[in-house]
Amino acid sequence: MIKYTIRRLLQTIPVMFGVTIIVFLMMHLIPGDPAQIMAGERASETQIEQMRDRLGLNDPLYVQYGTFVGNAVQGDLGNSIRSGRAVSDEIGVRFWITVELALYSTIVSVFIGIIAGVVSATRRNSFSDMFIMVFALFGLSMPNFWLGLMLIQYLALNIDWMPVSGWGSPQAAILPVITLGTAGAAIIARMMRSSMLEVIHQDYIRTARAKGVKERYVVYKHALRNAMIPVVTVVGLQFGTLLGGAVLTETVFAINGLGRLVVEAISQRDFPIVQGAVLILALLFVFVNFLVDISYRLLNKRIELD
């Protein structure tokens, strides 16, 4: 297990390397002169030249990349063009809001998804199965920003204690978490259902039943555990999708998270912020995937690293 963990950890190195290269190159792929953009539209020729020097844009590309990574490792992601504050400061608090939002949504979607999937599979072709699957299909097909708007329109505006926007109180979290978690719940429910159906038809389940084990036990002790294995992978991917999806949810509910920061920074052409936020979210996702693979391995000892 330790050997596996180390090998898996080593595998993340080239990925992180690639991620930093892409994020670093973002700045250079923008049409136009980065120094001009950073210095502002009304900057004089000398100011632009100074900015170019300060940003190290006169150095060879690999030196610039080295500086970028070197600074990033020390927590220095440059300064915001708009506010002049350090990018790491701007990101700091907002990062945790987004992580909280994505985490709550993941927990809710896993909880609802697994229960719905198990109910669906154990009562195959029943009314509840049909109902859950139709619901899941709609959940999967709905743009989350529209779902958010509809929830505000038809719930928040009619319920006194439910705020229409913001973050920080449990009441304020309900609608954003539903908005962000619905698609995930739908995906997990469908996955859980098919995985459960597959397991239920295997020999050891028949044996357990033949032994006279109670149906509840068969489902929850024998089948569920094995049916969960493929679902674990999806949960990790889901968390990533939710980190990205948070961009839309945060915009709809005016939550001051990292996603909203990115969108604002893009429209203000504040590229150091965009770079920093994208980098942090991608690295977090790499880390989460690493954790998922480890837990996957713990659940299923047969897995070999390919």
């Binding site: 991620v19 792929l29 299909l137 743009p143 980190l243 961009v247 990115v262 969108v263 429209s267 790499v286």
Partner: protein
């Protein structure tokens, strides 16, 4: 040259094309799946609407009409009017072609590159495989819509840049699936046999491997159109895709946001349009998956 003569030779009634038979069986299965057929019929209906619809509507989708601002649904304006007095029904009909254009084109581009990279990776293996797949891993490290967001941030907001962004987003998804299938097929004996007969790599890939891995590609393509439509409307909603006054549904939702509290219809109908298109592709894609590859899971 030998091949052309075979193709033009009179057909032996006993000689059947196994690939074609495979799809015939799948089609038979698909036809019995009512939900999938409903999705398929909806897709055909949407495509026809995209082509014919704009000719049938009498109103201009982009012409403001101040007198008719924010009217609720009526016999004159089925879905009501927006904050510029434009007929929402007309705008949704005109938006259909934009939505389908983005969906089909971005998936087609992503599929071509993804399939090419996946086959090369799986077929040649070793260093080529390692380089391609690690690159795909890097692309997959950007969670969800974030990669598309970053690309559009760099390229600037426009429909074509959204297509580029979604294509790049799709490439690793196809590459991974295709690589896996190629690895499985490459080991089969018949591939060794055609190689022993002197077939080139190119011929083996196109004539013998590609036809055998079509199923997962088709399934993924159908389902990814749904993802593409959702992503594109999301980017437009954020102001990073189609720009006003383009009648793109995500952009319509974004513009309607400020008026929806008192006039819910401005946000209701474009959203329903998105849901229906995505639902149709999901329904059809699910059916295609069940018909072509029952082993694949949701």
């Amino acid at each position: 040259m030998a091949e052309t003569t075979v193709r033009h030779a009179p057909k032996d009634p006993k000689r059947i094309n196994p690939y074609l038979e495979n799809f015939k069986t799948a089609w038979r299965k698909l036809r019995q799946n009512y939900l999938a057929m409903a999705g398929g019929i909806l897709i055909v209906f949407f495509i026809i609407t995209a082509f014919v619809g704009p000719m049938l509507t009498s109103l201009d989708p982009n012409m403001p009409n101040v007198q008719a601002r924010l009217q609720g649904p009526s016999s004159e304006h089925w879905f009501g009017t927006d904050h510029h007095g434009r007929d929402i029904f007309t705008r949704i009909i005109h938006g259909m072609s934009i939505t389908l254009y983005i969906g089909f084109l971005s998936v087609a581009i992503g599929m071509v590159f993804g399939v090419a990279l996946g086959i090369v990776s799986g077929y040649y293996g070793k260093a080529i495989d390692a380089i391609i797949m690690r690159t795909m891993d890097v692309l997959l490290a950007f969670p969800g819509i974030l990669l598309a967001l970053g690309i559009v941030a760099v390229l600037g907001p426009s429909i074509n840049n959204v297509i580029i962004a979604i294509s790049i987003f799709a490439v690793p998804v196809f590459a991974r699936i295709v690589r896996g299938s190629t690895l499985a097929v490459r080991q089969l004996e018949y591939v060794d046999a055609v190689r022993a007969l002197g077939a080139s790599d190119f011929r083996i890939i196109f004539r013998h491997i590609l036809p055998n891995i079509m199923s997962p590609i088709i399934v993924q393509a159908t389902l990814f159109i749904a993802t593409a439509v959702l992503t594109a409307s999301g980017l437009s909603f954020l102001g990073l895709g189609a720009q006003p006054p383009t009648p793109e549904w995500g952009a319509m939702l974004s513009a309607g946001r400020n008026y929806m509290w008192e006039h819910p219809h401005v946000a209701l109908f474009p959203g329903i349009a998105i849901v229906l298109v995505v639902l149709a592709f999901n329904l059809f894609g699910d059916g295609v998956r069940d018909a072509l590859d029952p082993k694949l899971k949701a």
